[in-house]
């Protein structure tokens, strides 16, 4: 029998987008709703998405109003930083045990300014997958090189970028376990380091070939047929842009202007610049670098 009168209350487990929408719908239809979320805040993973299928709507635009609604609905009680330990009973009469974790912050007074996270002496070490799986073993000398680089720049007020540049130059890329180490030595969160490392074109997070070929795609080179030169490199090496040949000898990259526009099209192999490169000259250049 379905009664017209709403009685009892509902528990929603999980404060992601689905949980929040359920909580709002239920609360709007007159139920008292408890929403349990194990992390310190409702919201879930949606905030990490750029946009959502199938409408390509901005994720935050969908998420934020619901967070606000859940946050101030008088019929919704939020139990964040809490986990369900046990549930007993049957539909209509459940009894649930919830463990509330210690937050050490008075949620009534907190304005969410975030100041405390900046001053906390304990750094939250970000999850970093497959540390020992992908990484080549680093030799003792390699660590010494890293330490030398770090010591050279530690005194600087903003040491991160010069350190990354030096490591990138030394190893041809930024090995993951070194970044992990740099994070601890410089006391900079890994997330920040990765943000910087992925922002700039100079840094590579993947190992590169012994000889890095950079084909200039600046305007002058473009006007003088650099795309054909690039195509030829792809054909001859059998790899695409950003890839490494199987024998680890070459990697192919594009660069935005080497400043050699007067002698376009230009390319760079390692630090050596070649000017006026024609697509038919590609094999000749490569010949100079093949160890065979």
């Amino acid at each position: 029998m379905v009664s017209e009168r709403k009685v009892g209350s509902v528990l929603v487990v999980g404060g992601g987008i689905a949980g929040m929408q359920s909580a709002i719908d239920l609360a709007e239809s007159g139920f008292k709703v408890y929403i349990v979320e194990k992390s310190p805040s409702i919201g879930g993973h949606m905030a990490q998405l750029d946009k959502t299928f199938p409408t390509n709507d901005c994720a935050m635009c969908t998420l934020a109003p619901r967070m606000v609604d859940v946050g101030r609905h008088i019929n919704i009680e939020r139990l964040t930083y809490s986990e369900v330990v046990a549930a007993h009973g049957e539909p209509g009469r459940f009894e649930v045990t919830i463990r509330k974790k210690a937050r050490s912050v008075d949620p009534e007074k907190c304005t969410g300014c975030g100041e405390c996270t900046l001053h906390c002496p304990v750094r939250y070490e970000a999850y970093y997958p497959s540390l020992d799986v992908v990484e080549p073993e680093l030799m003792h000398e390699d660590w010494e090189k890293v330490n030398t680089i770090l010591n050279r720049y530690l005194h600087r007020r903003a040491p991160l970028i010069p350190v990354l540049q030096a490591i990138n130059a030394e190893f041809n890329y930024l090995p993951e376990n070194i970044l992990y180490y740099v994070s601890r030595r410089l006391d900079i969160p890994l997330a920040h380091i990765l943000r910087v490392a992925t922002f700039y074109a100079l840094f590579s997070l993947k190992p590169r070939g012994k000889h890095v070929i950079s084909v200039c795609q600046g305007t002058s080179c473009f006007v003088r047929g650099a795309d054909r030169v690039l195509e030829r490199f792809q054909e001859v090496l059998g790899i695409g842009v950003g890839e490494v040949t199987q024998d680890k000898e070459f990697s192919l990259e594009v660069v935005r202007c080497l400043g050699c526009c007067a002698l376009a099209p230009a390319i760079k192999v390692g630090e050596q610049v070649y000017a006026g490169v024609q697509s038919k000259g590609v094999e000749e250049i490569l010949k100079g670098y093949t160890s065979r």
Partner: protein
């Protein structure tokens, strides 16, 4: 007798000439001077970019001013023995006028140099950038002495303001006013920055100056720092310019040794030091706030303004940022006076402008001309015109933020105001010449793909808008254009300009909007007729072998990478259109005397003649 006079051989070691192995030439010359026993009177020195990169590697003999072009290491013995020992210059290596074919021995007679007004490039190619004494002998650091010892801070700012100098990075903001704002802003210490993050593709004059005359920039910065009251400076150099960084390091060390940098410069009590910061390959870091973020160790993303960097720049302190060329002009203004500088140029744009001339033009290289020089004069008088007898189609100024100016408007005098009127910008000075083979839709697409990749992604109009515009352009160039696309592009472009956070997005649609403004016919041909008038857009072009011209030489047949060409010995070749990838190899390899391979666009490919008619009759 020439042999006993002291001579200096300058071997160009700018990036262009280095890529043509000029360091080997210098070594060969040094050795040759030694063996010829001329070491007492002849010096071999390196120098920065002469500007005439197309003719490189370049070797100049001073004090007469001989210029040798396309020099190879093997030419060293002849240059040293015949010219320096016996006094007979090597005519074979002189520059040849492309029209008259006559040899020009001295660089000051070559039209490329004669028509220029080299002020900040006065030392480029004439001093050794790695020796401070060369710079001092050329009058260097005199302006610093004058500013520090004879002028007050206000007088220096006043002088720069009166000269009418405007920022050479692109926006053209009056330099004096910028300095005054930073001087007034509360906060200590203050910083000055030299923006050498020359990111515009097609622009490389900053690099040339950094490599050829680094001290002029340092001197300008010290004068500026004195006027503003700054105690620290940064030179922010692009990652792609390792040679410039090396030369700057040497120059900074030497300047410090001589007391032009340090705690007590020239005993004036003023202290200032400079650090080099290297970029890491992000176009947007050239934007002032992004540059500051980069120096502070963050990812180089711009932030909304205000506050301006003059009030809150590096670590929240007042910071003055100027372009390389702006700093290099400062010593000249102090030394020769504001009135002299203001007498050059046009009403609102004073002094000279350095352009890097490149693309489809005969003489490429950085050139310096007074403001108000016409594009035509730049391209034809200095640039020597378009190679291959092709016609000028358009000139692109200002890099990805600029626009394309059509050939009809080439007579307009170039200054900040005129270029803005034409829908383009001055930018930092990139000037790419395009001829009739360049498709303007393709060019617009190229620039958008650049800004699309370089957009930092912080604000939506730039990140999403440019991507969508690029998609539309890809569709147009691949034959999927629709009516209404032009209007849509215009509408989106204007929205992106209005709504973007920084200058990158705020100017990114310019190449599209100017090409629509001046070359709308070309867009329409792509959209309505599926035709590329410049025969550049791959998807709209077919290659076709003219049966009446084909001599069955089999060159194209063998070169085709996908074996799409049929036929054989004595049999006219035919391209299998279904297999053809339109790579253009056949078009390139077909001997010019046959010229049988043609490109067609917007029309069906004629059916090949039947097999029996394909025989090529040859006279025996």
């Amino acid at each position: 007798m020439i042999a006993n006079d002291p001579h200096t051989i300058f071997v160009c070691q700018g990036t262009g000439c280095v890529s043509l192995r000029s360091s080997a030439i210098q070594k060969a010359l040094e050795q040759e001077v030694e063996t010829a026993g001329l070491a007492g009177s002849v010096q071999v020195k390196l120098c920065g970019c002469h500007g005439f990169c197309e003719q490189g590697p370049l070797v100049a003999i001073e004090p007469e001013g001989f210029l040798y072009t396309h020099v190879k290491a093997e030419d060293a013995p002849q240059i040293v023995r015949e010219h320096l020992r016996d006094g007979r210059p090597v005519e074979r290596l002189f520059y040849r006028d492309p029209l008259t074919r006559s040899a020009v021995p001295y660089y000051h007679d070559i039209p490329f140099y004669k028509k220029q007004m080299r002020l900040i490039m006065r030392n480029c190619g004439h001093i050794d950038p790695e020796r401070i004494d060369d710079y001092i002998d050329a009058g260097g650091y005199e302006a610093l002495r004058k500013a520090l010892l004879e002028m007050t801070r206000d007088e220096v700012i006043e002088e720069v303001s009166r000269s009418g100098l405007r920022g050479r990075g692109g926006a053209g903001f009056p330099t004096g006013r910028k300095w005054a704002a930073c001087r007034r802003a509360p906060g200590e210490p203050k910083y000055v920055i030299c923006n050498a993050d020359e990111g515009d593709p097609g622009a490389y004059m900053d690099r040339s100056i950094l490599e050829a005359d680094p001290h002029s920039i340092i001197e300008g910065m010290v004068i500026g720092a004195y006027a503003i009251g700054a105690s620290y400076g940064f030179i922010f150099v692009r990652a792609e310019y390792p040679l410039a960084v090396d030369r700057l390091r040497i120059a900074l060390r030497q300047a410090e040794e001589r007391g032009f940098l340090g705690d007590n410069i020239l005993n004036s009590g003023f202290g200032f030091s400079i650090d080099i910061d290297r970029g890491s390959g992000a176009f947007v870091s050239g934007e002032a706030t992004a540059l500051v973020a980069s120096i502070e160790g963050w990812s180089g993303e711009p932030r909304p303004r205000p506050p301006r960097t003059a009030e809150a720049g590096v670590w929240g302190k007042p910071t003055n940022i100027n372009n390389v060329k702006t700093w290099a002009k400062v010593p000249l203004i102090i030394e020769r006076g504001a009135e002299w500088f203001a007498s050059i140029g046009t009403e609102h744009s004073k002094g000279t402008m350095v352009f890097s001339l490149s693309g489809k033009v005969r003489n490429t290289g950085p050139v310096e001309v007074p403001m108000g020089t016409s594009l035509r004069s730049l391209i034809f008088d200095i640039g020597g015109g378009i190679p291959g007898g092709k016609a000028l189609k358009a000139v692109q100024t200002g890099g990805p933020s600029g626009g394309c100016i059509p050939a009809e408007l080439a007579d307009v005098p170039v200054d900040y105001e005129r270029l803005t009127e034409l829908g383009s910008i001055m930018g930092s000075g990139g000037l790419v010449v395009m001829d009739e083979d360049t498709c303007m839709v393709d060019v617009a697409k190229y620039f958008l793909s650049f800004t699309m990749q370089e957009s930092c992604g912080k604000c939506v109009p730039c990140r999403e808008g440019i991507r969508r515009m690029h998609e539309i352009l890809v569709d147009i160039t691949e034959g999927r254009g629709q009516e209404g696309d032009i209007e849509l592009l215009e509408q989106m472009g204007e929205t992106i300009i209005d709504a973007s956070l920084c200058g990158l997005g705020g100017s990114a649609p310019n190449p599209v909007l100017t090409t629509i403004r001046y070359f709308a016919d070309e867009y329409r041909a792509h959209i309505l007729e599926k035709r590329c008038p410049a025969l550049a857009c791959k998807s709209l072009v077919s290659y076709y072998i003219e049966p009446s011209k084909c001599q069955a030489c089999q060159i194209c047949l063998r070169s085709c990478p996908v074996k799409a060409i049929g036929g054989g010995k004595d049999q006219v070749h035919v391209i299998d259109q279904a297999a053809c990838t339109r790579c253009g190899t056949c078009f390139e390899v077909c001997p010019p005397r046959f010229g049988a391979v043609t490109r067609l666009s917007g029309m069906p490919v004629p059916v090949a003649p039947p097999l029996e008619e394909r025989l090529v009759a040859r006279a025996r």
